[in-house]
């Protein structure tokens, strides 16, 4: 198991939520104090550096026009970390390539980080959540097609070393592609793509990339991971290696159960703060007409709106792992057995008002008391045996998929 420390770098010092329509897209940036922002950026970088020192890997991402994530350009933060850290793998999950107009520029940025870090980059591509549509001014219809076209161009840019090639696709055009630098890792850095359904998982599996799932929980995880494993088997004729699957949950480890749960409550800031109106959570063309209609009806499944900020509920769903080191290990192990195993744990470990010290205390307990056991768990992975364990566990009673799941899935 590889563990990835992740924080979305929130700017939590906001006025009363009743005073604004949305935390995303149109919240005026007069509420962002640059001096406070400078402290926060440095604190978040210090957290990532601490993760490196503890033997954890690093994950970051980007969002735009939102207080939930202060980083609108993840490659800049990752560029700093490429220099500041020594051992951690550096995962960006990911580049919102469906919303970016120049895939070649993305290929260049990623190659630079890979070279600077001497081959520690792991490069993710995402379609982006619905609220990214307005900031990017991009019509989200056919976003998945755009993502894969950008992916194809970037892969070719990374792996072509004998001069310019031509690309004239449906969405992107570049007639003289010949990037400098080329990546440090050969033939290219490991690639991650997010997935939220059996269909999207199969597309990732066909290409042999790592599939990342965010907060799908017990209700959806089997469908997605099974879709990946089947897609991988169909394409490659062998079982998907366990390192091809990744799951992201909110995680807090305390010395006591009480401390663990109190920390997890602070992580739920991501759900409680995510106030977004329908025009931004349901832009035309992002969701299918059926889902868009359901959302217009007020059924917010899949919108990213916080249907539950109840910790017990989120823990029952498998979205949050929290408690003592033993409890957290057991919760992860149970989820791991249930879904048939995964080799990457992305840990949303800091949110909202959680302090530097609180975050580091949890990371330390995790890295010393939980992580070694997880590494042991996956070291003994056997695909056949794992499927037997999984088969012995019945499907958990389906819980309504909270918006949370889909919000992070894409």
């Amino acid at each position: 198991m590889r563990a990835w420390f992740f924080t979305e770098d929130a700017y939590p010092y906001l006025p009363d939520a009743d005073s604004y329509e949305s935390i995303r897209v149109n919240l005026p940036n007069k509420h962002f104090d640059p001096a406070t922002g400078a402290d926060l950026y440095n604190m978040y970088l210090d957290m990532w550096c601490a993760a490196d020192e503890m033997g954890l890997n690093i994950m970051n991402n980007e969002h735009h026009q939102t207080a939930t994530c202060m980083v609108p350009a993840a490659p800049i933060m990752l560029g700093i970390l490429a220099r500041e850290t020594k051992n951690a793998r550096l995962l960006i999950l990911g580049n919102p390539v469906a919303n970016r107009s120049q895939p070649v520029r993305v290929a260049e940025e990623m190659a630079l980080i890979d070279v600077l870090s001497k081959g520690r980059l792991e490069c993710g591509f995402v379609r982006g959540v619905p609220y990214e549509t307005a900031p990017a001014n991009v019509f989200p219809y056919r976003g998945t097609e755009k993502l894969w076209e950008a992916h194809d161009l970037i892969m070719k840019a990374w792996t072509t070393h004998d001069g310019p090639f031509n690309f004239e696709g449906r969405w992107f055009h570049a007639r003289q592609v010949n990037i400098w630098p080329r990546p440090y890792q050969q033939p290219h850095p490991p690639v991650w793509v997010t997935m939220g359904s059996a269909g999207s998982a199969a597309q990732v599996a066909q290409r042999g990339h790592i599939g990342g799932v965010f907060l799908a929980g017990y209700p959806k995880i089997r469908t997605v991971f099974d879709g990946y494993r089947q897609g991988y088997l169909d394409t490659h004729g062998s079982d998907a290696p366990i390192d091809r699957l990744a799951y992201c949950a909110l995680i807090h480890v305390g010395k006591t159960e009480k401390e663990g749960l109190e920390g997890a409550e602070k992580l739920l800031w991501y759900m409680s703060s995510n106030k977004v109106p329908p025009q931004f959570s349901n832009p035309p063309g992002y969701h299918s007409p059926a889902m868009a209609a359901a959302m217009m009806r007020g059924n917010n499944s899949g919108t990213g709106l916080p249907t539950s900020t109840n910790l017990a509920e989120q823990m029952a769903r498998g979205n949050v792992f929290a408690g003592t080191p033993d409890q957290v290990y057991d919760q992860i192990k149970n989820f791991y057995d249930y879904c048939g195993g995964f080799g990457n744990l992305m840990m949303m470990s800091q949110a909202g008002f959680m302090t530097f010290d609180e975050t580091l205390a949890s990371m330390k307990l995790f890295s010393e008391e939980v992580y070694p056991r997880l590494k042991e768990l996956t070291a003994g992975y056997d695909a056949g045996e794992m499927q037997e364990i999984k088969a012995a566990l019945p499907d958990v009673e389906n819980v309504d998929v909270s918006d949370l799941a889909s919000e992070f899935v894409r």
Binding site: N137, F139, Q279, P284, A293, M296, R297
Partner: protein, 282 residues
């Protein structure tokens, strides 16, 4: 109530028709196949032809104003691909695709001396068609039309309908907000239709938003009498926008209807029909 099906072949297109009699005027639903894209066309009433191009909200042939007009004219009302549950063709990316599709449709229907009417996005479409060739048309009517950008880059000439809250959108659209469609009154199918229409609306108008930067340099080509009808309280595109559009079309007249917003044909159907009929009968 009887129905019949016929198939015609015209200019490489296939037309199949189903006729039915609804209310006072006869209505025929025709599926016109244009190089792989099927366009439903409702024909209603009899008389000189009027080609009606609907806007982003979807079909308008069922509205009272259409009933009034079709007592003197034959109203031809195509459904833009993507609206009313029809598929979006794989190669479609924007309004230009619709413009060329309708150039084919107009040939296929063999329109002569027709009146071309467009509402909102359909007005933009009508203008794009008219700057190509007005040969098959006698008159042009643009209703609260989009299509140009009169102001500078920092000016929001056209409300960003995709970024407004429901309440803001209703305020901008309607003089009388009680006329706004209510989600709770709709069936699941109707609501899904609304969602699909929004996708198609976005496809045709997203960027450049609701306009073609080149159109203003082409509007001089419109050489048929043109009437712009505008709701006085339109908050999507104001009467001032209408005046800017009028000034780019030679001899065009702007007729502003009081107590109406973006849909004067819905809010003031009698007044709308009267002004329309006065213009086309002139």
């Amino acid at each position: 109530m009887g129905s019949r099906s016929t198939i015609h072949r015209t200019l490489g297109s296939r037309i199949s028709s189903i006729s039915k009699r609804t209310g006072m005027t006869s209505e025929t639903s025709t599926l016109v196949s244009l190089h792989g894209v099927d366009v439903p066309v409702v024909r209603r009433g009899s008389g000189p032809p009027i080609l009606v191009l609907h806007g982003g909200e979807g079909l308008v042939d069922h509205l009272p104003f259409a009933e009034r007009i079709s007592s003197n004219f034959e109203l031809l009302h195509p459904t833009h691909p993507g609206f009313d549950g029809t598929p979006i063709p794989e190669h479609f990316d924007g309004l230009e695709d619709l413009t060329f599709l309708y150039l084919d449709l107009i040939d296929s229907l063999d329109l002569q001396d027709a009146i071309l009417v467009g509402f909102s996005m359909g007005g933009w479409l009508a203008a794009e068609i008219a700057v190509m060739n007005t040969g098959r048309f006698s008159k042009l009517v643009l209703v609260d039309s989009v299509g140009i950008k009169p102001g500078g880059p920092f000016e929001r000439d056209i409300s960003d309908v995709f970024a407004l809250s429901t309440e803001e959108l209703e305020k901008a659209t309607w003089h009388d907000r009680s006329l706004a469609p209510n989600v709770s009154d709709m069936t699941d199918d109707e609501l899904q239709n609304v969602a699909s229409n929004k996708i198609a609306h976005g496809l045709y108008t997203w960027e450049p938003y609701m306009h073609n930067p080149k159109l203003r340099y082409r509007l001089h080509r419109i050489d048929i009498p043109t009437l712009l009808v505008w709701g006085e309280n339109d908050g999507i595109v104001t009467p001032g926008y209408g005046a800017a559009l009028r000034d780019l079309i030679s001899g065009a007249r702007l007729s502003v209807i009081p107590e109406a917003g973006h849909h004067p044909h819905v809010e003031q159907p009698a007044e709308f029909a009267a002004r329309f009929l006065e213009f086309v009968s002139d």
